[in-house]
């Protein structure tokens, strides 16, 4: 059963992620008072990129393998986490494994960036590292608050506990902390510092083109949808539905709402500098610490 769940999770996110981005683009167009592209535009972009010439500045294997490994790690991460009540491979890897699998994806992108030899890519990789350093502790703490409650590190176990016990103060605070860091996790403004098109021209992705750039873009969409889905599955799992399929659809709908909020924020705020972002994250870290403290005193 876990294998079927994993395939469902992986395929669902892989196939739907561009659509969710298309909806966010539409929202952006509406705010700009434009007509905007159709919802399916990201699919068309990807197809177009798959047909474009693959230009490589270096013959390095690392450079060529990086987008593949990065996307693969993201797909594994989606297979490890629960969507709705579909726990997929959750019995083979817990929350810590999930976080470190995500880091495989980041490491692959950084090594690919280094291998390209482009200084813009180096700058982007450095920023990616700094974002990881400041954002990941918040995600870990938010999950730890759940662990203190549910006495398990299994993501599925945390969902079960949430469903069984309803909303609590500590988990709400953890949810707030997670949400405040969500914008950075999905690489959206004001935290799209890693790519920062107007400063370091897509940073780590600068030398990628054609099919490999398509994989990078797909990875970006997958990461976006995955974090939204984890947020809704972990922190807003209610109402509990017995049928797994319904729960999954419900999670997708909730994720869409979350992503619309993310898209809204993306439209109205300018990009922060990396040091400003780190200051912001260090404050959010205290919110997350507060969540763990509250969980420890049992509220």
């Amino acid at each position: 059963m876990p294998v079927v769940g994993a395939i469902v999770n992986g395929l669902l996110v892989l196939l739907l992620a561009p659509l969710f981005d298309g909806v966010m683009r539409k929202l952006k167009a509406v705010i700009h008072s434009r007509k905007g592209p159709p919802f399916t535009q990201p699919y068309r972009d990807l197809l177009k990129l798959f047909g474009k010439e693959d230009l490589t500045p270096v013959g390095s294997v690392v450079f060529r393998a990086a987008p593949v490994v990065s996307l693969a790690a993201l797909l594994v991460a989606t297979a490890l986490m629960p969507i709705g009540t579909n726990k997929a491979l959750g019995t083979y890897g817990d929350a810590i494994v999930w976080i470190y699998v995500l880091s495989i994806s980041a490491v692959a992108l950084m090594l690919g960036a280094f291998a390209s030899g482009n200084p813009f890519a180096y700058a982007g990789a450095g920023r990616e590292m700094m974002m990881m350093l400041t954002v990941e502790p918040i995600v870990v703490l938010a999950i730890l608050a759940g662990m203190v409650k549910a006495k398990t590190l299994l993501l599925g176990g945390l969902v079960d506990w949430q469903l069984a016990n309803g909303a609590t103060v500590s988990m709400t605070v953890a949810a707030i902390a997670f949400f405040l860091a969500l914008q950075a996790n999905v690489g959206r403004l004001p935290f799209d510092i890693v790519e920062a098109e107007s400063e370091i021209v897509e940073g780590p992705f600068i030398e990628y083109s054609g099919p490999r750039l398509a994989l990078c873009k797909l990875g970006f969409y997958v990461r976006q949808l995955m974090f939204a889905l984890l947020f809704v599955s972990l922190f807003i799992p209610w109402p509990g539905v017995d049928v797994t399929a319904v729960a999954v659809v419900l999670a997708l709908v909730k994720a869409l709402v979350v992503l619309l909020v993310v898209g809204l924020i993306d439209c109205v705020v300018p990009r922060l500098r990396i040091d400003q972002s780190m200051t912001y994250m260090s404050r959010v870290l205290f919110v997350a610490l507060g969540a763990v403290a509250l969980a420890l005193i049992g509220v």
């Binding site: 992986g10 892989l14 798959f50 474009k52 693959d54 230009l55 490589t56 500045p57 390095s60 690392v62 987008p67 593949v68 996307l71 693969a72 790690a73 797909l75 594994v76 491979l89 083979y92 817990d94 810590i96 494994v97 470190y100 699998v101 880091s103 490491v107 950084m110 090594l111 280094f114 291998a115 030899g117 482009n118 813009f120 180096y122 700058a123 990789a125 450095g126 590292m129 700094m130 990881m132 350093l133 400041t134 990941e136 502790p137 703490l141 203190v148 006495k151 398990t152 590190l153 299994l154 176990g157 021209v201 600068i206 030398e207 099919p211 490999r212 797909l218 040091d275 780190m278 420890l296």
Partner: protein
């Protein structure tokens, strides 16, 4: 060889190492030939020790009784190989053999005018001394071996006698480790005064009675022993000597230090704290102290490493961070020794597992760096780049080592770090402080990743700087084999944690008592491909590398299929620098700039690593410096006096006559004054 007794095996191994040391000292003419001689003797010892370790693992503890007894002292040369010792007996010769093999070519090139006599005999003796430390069951001889190890390693640190900074680092190492050793000796003698014997079992009894009759003294003894051991391990704040001393030694020696000698500090803590003091309030209290200092070590060691641009110093600071992980786990284990057998065993296994893994990837990193040094002749990260294309195998090994140390799955560093987090978080449910320490460990794990990304990005990737016309190519085969061997172990121990866990479970049973440690299936579940940790009522955490790797392969296949079905052609181009033409060196991203804002932000948060300054060394050197306070002043003052005299001899007759006149007048005046 397998029909030898354990005693014969151990003695033959010692013999091989000592004879090897003598042989390399005697026929030390040619670096390469002496090197191969050392490799042969180390290999023989390694095989013997591995057989002995295998026997200890399958047949249980091997005891070797009194080879030599000092009756008046109550000390006897006895050895005991339990499963914890067996782990070290597998690691130490492995690392020793790998680094000696590596040294053959490396030292030939980097000899700095020294004779092979200054390196190989001491490298062999160090392995022998370390084997002695981990097998002896008599505190007196334990100390003798410990001291031998320190002295021999000091000679290796002192290898480059031309460089003043390195000589100073060697002296600092000498003094700090001897102060630490003195702490151990004081504690040993105090315990001996109660027990009348140096045997571990007797000392343990003596410590028990001291703890009952005089708890304050027991605390003092514990503190002395711990200070002695963690100083050797390099724990903050006692590790300031380490980043100066390790880089001073030649790279293969640094690798051997990092892989074996540093870990003996942890071995000492485990042996002494658990076996001597038992499950009392004392161990609980000191467990907390070790855990907190371990977490501080992790934090400060690793973040200082991020600031460093000399790659060997950087790795040395990183050792301090890595030692912190082990001490954090061992401290947690001590803390729960009294209350929770499951947590205590889990944390101890996690800590020793990390030790094993560390003994594989840390030397590997030093060997990678040595290869880079061999090729370029430099250790400055800012002056390197693009070596990956020239040294593909070293790049591959360095990536594996870096991902292992940074704890990226499925490499071995992840497996042990995961276990450490699990034990800390599970412990955190009882003692919330451990949640915080676990958070520090996770955060710094990311910082370790940043440190190693900086190294990889600066050394192996990017544009090549001007290497001064040097032709750089992959290192010779004898330097490649050790790197490959260590890298393979890093992968295997990560992919199949069961291999390590079954041994570690046995070691924990030997240290903590087999009745104390819960059964293997209770602790790690029954699946052979991974670990399932249970807590009361349910599953606490799972890690199954086999499933993860399978999933990664499937994910990669999906991505590759997408790439391959794409109707796109491929073409080589040049890098794009915003439309400008640029020389390679102009667009090289230097290591110093990597995560610079983060470094700047964090420099305000934590104190700089304390540098050990011992005033007495300076005083001693002043006293011994006869030139400084006796000869030079005498010569200087004498010279000045003769100067004065010679100035009066101007060579002009009139002046001499004037002097005579003044003299006559003075004599007459004196006579007149006297006679009146």
């Amino acid at each position: 060889m397998s029909n030898m007794t354990s005693e014969q095996m151990l003695l033959a191994a010692f013999g091989s190492l000592v004879i090897g040391a003598v042989a390399t000292a005697l026929c030390a003419r040619d670096w390469r030939r002496t090197g191969w001689l050392a490799v042969v003797f180390t290999a023989v010892a390694a095989v013997l020790l591995w057989l002995l370790a295998a026997r200890a693992l399958t047949e249980g503890t091997q005891t070797i009784r009194s080879l030599l007894t000092f009756k008046p002292l109550g000390a006897s040369l006895t050895f005991r190989v339990d499963k914890l010792s067996a782990i070290f007996l597998m690691l130490v010769p492995f690392v020793g053999l790998a680094t000696t093999l590596y040294a053959v070519e490396f030292m030939r090139k980097a000899q700095t005018g020294q004779s092979p006599r200054a390196y190989y005999p001491f490298a062999l003796l160090m392995t022998a001394a370390i084997v002695g430390v981990v097998t002896s069951s008599d505190l007196f001889f334990f100390f003798v071996f410990w001291e031998l190890m320190t002295l021999v390693s000091w000679v290796l640190v002192w290898f480059d006698r031309e460089d003043q900074a390195k000589v100073q680092a060697a002296w600092q190492y000498f003094f700090v480790t001897h102060v630490a050793a003195a702490c151990i000796l004081i504690a040993a003698v105090t315990a001996y005064s109660t027990s009348g014997s140096f045997a571990f079992s007797e000392i343990a009894k003596a410590m028990g009675s001291i703890a009952r009759s005089n708890p304050v003294l027991a605390h003092v003894l514990m503190a002395l022993l711990l200070i002695g051991f963690v100083t050797k391990a390099g724990m903050f704040p006692f590790g300031g000597w380490l980043p100066a001393a390790y880089p001073a030694a030649p790279s293969p020696a640094s690798a051997a230090f990092s892989g074996t000698m540093t870990k003996l500090g942890i071995y000492g803590v485990v042996r002494v704290a658990f076996e001597f003091f038992g499950a009392t309030e004392l161990t609980t209290a000191w467990g907390l102290v070790i855990a907190v200092l371990g977490a501080l070590s992790i934090f400060i060691g690793t973040l200082t490493a991020l600031l460093e641009d000399d790659v060997k110093r950087l790795l040395s600071y990183d050792i301090i961070g890595q030692i912190g992980y082990m001490l954090l786990a061992v401290g947690a284990s001590l803390f729960f020794f009294k209350t929770s057998p499951l947590l205590s065993s889990l944390a101890l296994i996690a800590g020793v597992y990390h030790l094993i893994n560390n003994a594989c990837y840390e030397p590997l990193l030093f060997l990678n760096v040595g290869a880079v040094e061999y090729g370029t002749g430099s250790r400055d990260l800012n002056r390197m780049g693009g070596l990956g294309a020239l040294m593909p195998l070293t790049l591959c090994a360095a990536v594996i080592a870096s991902l292992s140390i940074a704890g990226v799955p499925p490499f071995n560093g992840f497996a042990s770090k995961w276990l450490i987090y699990q034990s800390l978080f599970q412990g955190g449910l009882q003692m919330p402080l451990f949640l915080l320490l676990g958070m520090v460990a996770i955060f710094v794990s990311l910082a370790t990743l940043a440190v190693l990304m900086k190294v990889l990005g600066a050394v192996f990737f990017g544009k090549q700087p001007d290497y001064g016309g040097k032709v750089i190519s992959e290192v010779p085969v004898s330097m490649r084999i050790p790197q490959v061997a260590l890298a393979i172990v890093c992968v295997v121990l990560g992919v199949a944690p069961i291999l390590a866990l079954s041994v570690l479970h046995g070691a924990a049973s030997d240290v903590l008592g087999s009745a104390f440690v819960p059964g293997f299936a209770t602790m790690f579940g029954s699946t052979a491909s991974g670990m399932t940790l249970a807590s009361d009522g349910g599953t606490f955490g799972v890690w199954n590398p086999a499933v993860l790797i399978a999933a990664l392969v499937v994910g990669s296949i999906i991505a590759v299929i997408m790439l391959k079905t794409a109707p796109a052609s491929s073409r080589r181009t040049v890098s794009w620098y915003g439309g400008e033409e640029a020389e390679d060196d102009e667009v090289r991203y230097r290591a110093h700039g990597f995560v610079l804002p983060f470094k700047q932000a964090f420099q305000k948060v934590y104190p700089p690593f304390p540098r050990v300054r011992i005033e007495s060394i300076r005083f001693l050197r002043k006293v011994l410096d006869f030139d400084g306070w006796l000869y030079n002043p005498v010569v200087k003052e004498g010279g000045r006096a003769t100067d004065l005299i010679s100035r009066s001899h101007s060579g002009v007759p009139q002046t001499y006559m004037l002097w005579q006149l003044v003299g006559v007048l003075a004599v007459v005046l004196a006579l007149v004054l006297l006679i009146r």
